[in-house]
């Protein structure tokens, strides 16, 4: 019985958190003409049955170095797919300026998330814009900080209640290791710090009952 309840809660929590889904996909462009295939996993940190862990939300992505300063990417969110929700993501990264010693590089990554369910074919469209500052450390490794921004167009939600958050912003910090042709990233996000997280079915871990901390891992291979 206890196991069944745990499964129940886990599924509820995972499903309710599908949108908090990945690392900052591309913090800087990949080399021109190269492909990058990646797997992202991680999510908001929650407590279920006294156990604290980040949700295992996953996505697969493919990126291509279009120009020296521009890479394009697409992704399929695999956890969402398990629930019959097709979530596709297209976008890319534009490097505004490169890092110079202690001055960080700066990039802008616009994405478009198209979601639709296979049950009633309800469709949602969410633009996302990531802003990243990053520093080259050594051997191609980078450390980065930035903001993930989701835009909710709806002004009303169920039963005519007002949708109070139209810009959902989440600061993040991460590190990317680059052994050989790999890019391995570890990222921490503070999801929706302006939103109170108390009195919810999901027990998120935020700061002073606001937002949710998230932990994400990403493994990508260049070829």
């Amino acid at each position: 019985m206890a196991k069944r309840k745990l499964n129940c809660l886990l599924l509820i929590v995972i499903s309710l958190s599908l949108v908090h889904c990945s690392t900052s996909r591309l913090t800087k462009p990949i080399p021109k003409g190269k492909f990058r295939a990646g797997l992202d996993i991680g999510g908001p940190i929650v407590t279920i049955s006294d156990t604290i862990f980040p949700l295992p939300l996953s996505s697969l992505s493919l990126a291509y170095g279009l120009q020296e300063k521009i890479s394009i990417s697409g992704a399929l969110h695999t956890t969402a797919l398990l629930f019959g929700v097709v979530q596709l993501e297209i976008g890319g990264v534009y490097e505004v300026f490169k890092p110079k010693k202690f001055i960080p590089g700066f990039s802008v990554s616009p994405y478009l998330h198209l979601m639709f369910d296979t049950w009633e074919t309800n469709v949602k469209l969410y633009p996302e814009v990531d802003l990243n500052f990053y520093w080259d450390i050594k051997n191609g490794d980078i450390v980065y900080i930035g903001l993930t921004n989701w835009i909710e167009f709806a002004t009303r939600k169920a039963h005519g209640q007002s949708q109070d958050q139209n810009l959902i912003w989440s600061p993040h910090v991460g590190y990317t290791f680059t052994p050989a042709m790999w890019q391995l990233s570890l990222e921490m996000k503070y999801l929706s710090p302006g939103v109170k997280n108390s009195n919810l079915i999901v027990n998120y871990h935020g700061i002073n009952e606001y937002g949710a901390l998230g932990l994400y891992l990403s493994a990508a291979r260049l070829f």
């Binding site: 499964n7 399929l76 695999t78 629930f83 949602k124 989701w150 919810l200 079915i201």
Partner: protein, 303 residues
């Protein structure tokens, strides 16, 4: 080319597992492992315990089964009636639709409390309480599902009608998940037409649960096929309506669930009781058992 095949294979495998999960089958938190109902002797967790002064003589506790039909099949569901069954022809009966957890033993203190409405239950208080276990809960046959909830509560109303209860003496009470069948069958009466609807900690809809937790205005269909929508059904309710909700409800927020249901009520005789300090499970205790009973009885008597 080999890489392309690998990518295509991976994608195909993902698609195979598409639609594996929906929340629907996992939302129900039933326990069907018990061998019998223990009621006062139940040793498992309960939301609150009552003093001995609320105890009820076994003379006024009747356990029995009902038949509930679903998808052409008849299922045996279990029920407990607190009160004098021979006086259902004259007593006012509260049909208590319990929440999502375990089975009737868990909700026994709640039903017992209501049975003490007009003083200790001695067969002369003028009240009785009927509680059932929905399909899949406790000893009741079947598996939980939305339609079964409605059918099971309707089966309870059929039984009450067969015992001589009339519409003007039927009070429909729903707690948490039980607010779904309570609201549905008050809005769209079947075997009987309840005179009064009482909802404790109602949820607005599955969609609100989704949106509360995700921040975004996501459609409920992204996660569940459940059609439970109290916020919509309550518009059809014109019977007097009493709403009780804890201000600190950490499961179904009072602002996004209870207030919406209350606001959408379609009638013109309602009372809202927002209980400071109460959470989802302890409203009667925090409100005070006697306050709780007096509030409900006064509402019944004044309507």
């Amino acid at each position: 080319m080999k890489k392309v095949y690998i990518l295509i294979t991976c994608f195909a495998m993902i698609l195979i597992f598409t639609n594996c999960f929906r929340l629907d089958d996992f939302l129900y938190n039933e326990d069907n492992t018990i061998k019998s109902y223990k009621l006062d002797n139940y040793k498992g967790d309960v939301d609150f315990k009552l003093a001995a002064s609320y105890d009820i003589s076994s003379t006024y506790i009747s356990q029995f089964t009902l038949q509930s039909r679903f998808e052409g099949k008849t299922k045996k569901i279990y029920a407990v009636y607190i009160g004098d069954k021979t006086k259902i022809t004259t007593d006012t009966v509260i049909l208590y639709c319990h929440g999502n957890k375990d089975h009737m033993d868990f909700y026994w203190p709640r039903a017992k409390l209501l049975a003490n409405m007009n003083g200790p239950m001695d067969g002369t208080t003028g009240y009785g309480v009927l509680m059932i276990d929905y399909q899949g809960y406790g000893l009741s046959q079947g598996t939980p599902n939305e339609e079964a909830l409605y059918n099971d509560v309707n089966a309870a109303m059929k039984w009450l009608k067969s015992q001589g209860l009339t519409n003007n003496r039927l009070i429909m009470y729903g707690f948490s998940m039980g607010t779904a069948p309570a609201t549905e069958l008050t809005a769209n009466p079947k075997a009987m037409n309840p005179r009064i609807l009482i909802l404790e900690a109602p949820f607005a809809s599955a969609e609100v649960m989704v949106q509360d937790s995700s921040v975004l205005a996501l459609p409920g269909s992204f996660f569940t096929n459940l059609k439970i929508d109290n916020a919509k059904e309550i518009r059809k309710v014109t019977q007097p309506f009493l709403w009780l909700h804890g201000k600190k409800d950490d499961f179904l927020r009072i602002s996004t669930h209870g207030e919406v249901v209350y606001k959408n009520y379609g009638g013109n005789s309602s009372l809202a009781i927002r209980v400071a300090g109460a959470g989802h499970s302890n409203l009667p205790e925090v409100f005070g058992f006697q306050n709780y009973l007096t509030t409900i009885e006064n509402f019944i008597l004044s309507n």
